[in-house]
């Protein structure tokens, strides 16, 4: 049982504040992904949980125990590093068994656990090799096996796949998901790759400038972004935005069209819709096609709507030429609204 609670964590590097008042609870056996652009503080937060960095203020609780004053070895965690950190002077076997030897487990227990985790990661053939004799993908497997062999309460991973090539990344992603689900460990996984985040996570915490903007299931983050930042960050291509002015009674004026929207607001809002939630129709937004990209499965059309860039993912059967006038209708139940003042979503 290892629920993780992060309470009011803040971190300053000198005068620079890398983390602002982070609060997050990660359930036992949950797979939590920290997602955000480079420099938003993901690694810092992970390292604070691991004990490799000290928070300026705040508390970390793992399994009902306050751990922020403990050293990394006493927190019941193990960690997978971006550059693998496989010990070059030890064989694969000794690497995987390193933590077990530190616990002074008997030899046969070490051998049993090393062989089991090596089997899980499909590296049982490599146990006698040194890290210099391994490929990047194999090293990554050793690093994961080494963390799993500890049978930790919590496994922390900092962009573990980012040094692998695209194909290998896809393969390892699926494998990791399976292995971690079976191991019943709580996992925190840092990445800036939203596809990786969507595919792995039970929940995603989207981070921006040292704050958690939204922590929710992948589909929730995708469908109901809590803030403009999330809407513009998640999804490829990201959400479209257009300014909307109220015309009373829950009616909103968007690029010459009148749409149903929130009834509670009287100040201008941002209208937002995903490119894949747009269909050509008889009535709708008038758009001029600027760039047409056939992507095989879809047709990605970048248009201009009243001077604002607007993307639509359309059926690949359609024929669209640059300069064509399109009439595009957003799917009503997929429209989202954001307050331009607070950038937060409006119901």
């Amino acid at each position: 049982m290892a629920e993780i609670q992060i309470k009011n964590i803040a971190k300053n590097f000198g005068s620079y504040q890398a983390l602002h008042d982070i609060n997050l609870t990660i359930a036992d056996q949950e797979f939590m992904v920290l997602l955000g652009a480079s420099g938003c503080g993901k690694s810092t937060l992970l390292r604070i949980i691991a004990g490799l960095e000290t928070a300026t203020t705040g508390e970390v609780w793992i399994g009902g125990r306050r751990v922020d004053h403990l050293s990394p070895k006493d927190r019941g965690i193990s960690m997978v590093f971006q550059n693998y950190a496989v010990f070059p002077h030890l064989t694969v076997f000794e690497n995987i068994g390193f933590g077990l030897r530190m616990q002074k487990l008997p030899d046969d227990e070490v051998t049993r656990r090393v062989e089991r985790t090596a089997g899980l990661m499909h590296i049982d053939q490599l146990l006698k090799r040194y890290s210099g004799e391994l490929s990047g993908g194999q090293r990554q497997r050793v690093a994961v096996a080494r963390a799993l062999a500890m049978e930790p309460d919590v496994i922390l991973m900092d962009e573990p796949l980012s040094n692998l090539d695209a194909l290998l990344r896809l393969e390892m992603r699926a494998e990791l998901k399976g292995v971690l689900a079976d191991s019943k460990t709580t996992a925190i996984y840092v990445t800036h790759d939203q596809v990786e985040a969507m595919s792995l996570a039970d929940r995603i915490s989207v981070m921006h400038q040292g704050r958690i903007v939204q922590a929710a299931t992948p589909i929730e983050v995708y469908r109901n972004p809590a803030a403009e930042f999330v809407a513009g960050f998640i999804g490829n291509p990201p959400m479209n935005f257009l300014p909307a002015t109220p015309s009373g009674d829950g009616k909103w004026q968007v690029a010459g069209q009148v749409l149903d929207g929130p009834t509670s607001r009287s100040a201008p809002l941002q209208f937002a819709v995903r490119p894949e939630d747009i269909r050509p129709a008889d009535s709708g937004l008038t758009a001029t096609a600027k760039v047409v990209e056939p992507l095989g499965a879809h047709l990605l059309v970048t248009c201009e709507v009243e001077g604002t860039m607007f993307r639509a993912v359309l059926d690949s059967d359609l024929t669209v030429h640059v300069g064509d006038q399109l009439t595009l209708a957003p799917q009503p139940d997929r429209i989202r609204w954001f307050d331009p003042e607070t950038t937060l979503a409006v119901a």
């Binding site: 490799l52 070895k73 193990s78 960690m79 590093f81 950190a85 933590g99």
Partner: protein, 281 residues
């Protein structure tokens, strides 16, 4: 790093040839600068006394071992050799035991005055030993350290420490901090992570740095001559006894001193380059 050079537009053939010639000539000249004197030293050591003083010289030695045999049987030389080894060994151990932790701190921790500290370490070498010799001698006599191998080793250690710190600093900086962090998450304390992960990885480099300290002590003559009387090291002993000796014996004495240093430089040349890398930074 220097790959960018390859992207430059190709030179004209003629100017490239001239450049290559100049480069080659400089290399030959530099090598000659070092090798020719060493060769004459060897030549004269292996020559009979008459040949040493004659002119012109033959360019091939006659393998007359007379001078070397003379030294082998010379009174006190074995004692001096033993003292040299003893002092150098103590210097080696002390400079690593003190220097390596400093190198580790420099590479791993941020602290106030870090740059100044690095500079200060080098500045210790700027202090001329002759200036220190008299106060040191007085101090040593008062504390009873004069004329002891340990006392001399202390002085040699201060000479060797800057190099020990800088070499180990470069070694530690070459070990990714993630390796240590991984060890910490796998159940190590700072200390056990150091002994189980960092130490095995830098041991070859530490060895080189230790041998370097050894040679610094081996070659040091001033402090040795001032601070010891009975327990002279080899260089101080030779300096004292060869002052009035015939030329052929001086050559042989010089040869005995040079050879260990040469062997050492050859053995650790890789680490010397690493050290120069720092000096350029």
């Amino acid at each position: 790093m220097t790959d960018a050079v390859a992207d430059l537009p190709a030179d004209t053939g003629a100017s490239r040839k001239a450049g290559q010639f100049l480069y080659g000539a400089s290399v030959v000249l530099l090598c000659a600068w070092v090798i020719v004197p060493l060769y004459f030293l060897l030549l004269n050591t292996l020559s009979s006394p008459e040949e040493v003083n004659s002119f012109p010289k033959s360019f091939l030695p006659h393998f007359d071992l007379g001078s070397l045999t003379f030294f082998a049987n010379f009174q006190g030389i074995l004692r001096a050799l033993w003292n040299s080894v003893l002092v150098a060994a103590m210097t080696m151990v002390m400079s690593i035991v003190i220097g390596a932790p400093a190198g580790y701190a420099l590479s791993r921790f941020e602290f106030r005055g870090k740059e100044a500290f690095r500079l200060l370490i080098l500045l210790t070498r700027a202090f001329p030993l002759p200036l220190l010799a008299l106060p040191l001698a007085v101090l040593f006599i008062r504390t009873g350290l004069d004329d002891t191998a340990f006392g001399l080793a202390l002085v040699h250690t201060t000479l060797a420490i800057p190099f020990a710190v800088l070499i180990t600093f470069s070694l530690f900086s070459g070990i990714p901090i993630e390796l240590e962090e991984a060890a910490w998450t796998l159940g190590c304390t700072r200390f056990t992570a150091f002994t189980k992960v960092v130490l095995p990885l830098i041991l070859p480099g530490i060895t080189a740095s230790a041998i370097f300290a050894f040679v610094i002590s081996w070659n040091e003559v001033f402090a040795a001559a001032v601070l010891t009387i009975e327990n002279r090291t080899l260089p101080a002993f030779l300096l004292q006894t060869l002052g009035e000796a015939p030329l052929h014996l001086k050559f042989a004495g010089g040869f005995i001193l040079v050879v260990p240093a040469l062997i050492f430089i050859f053995a650790v040349r890789k680490y010397l380059f690493a050290m120069w890398g720092i000096a350029n930074r």
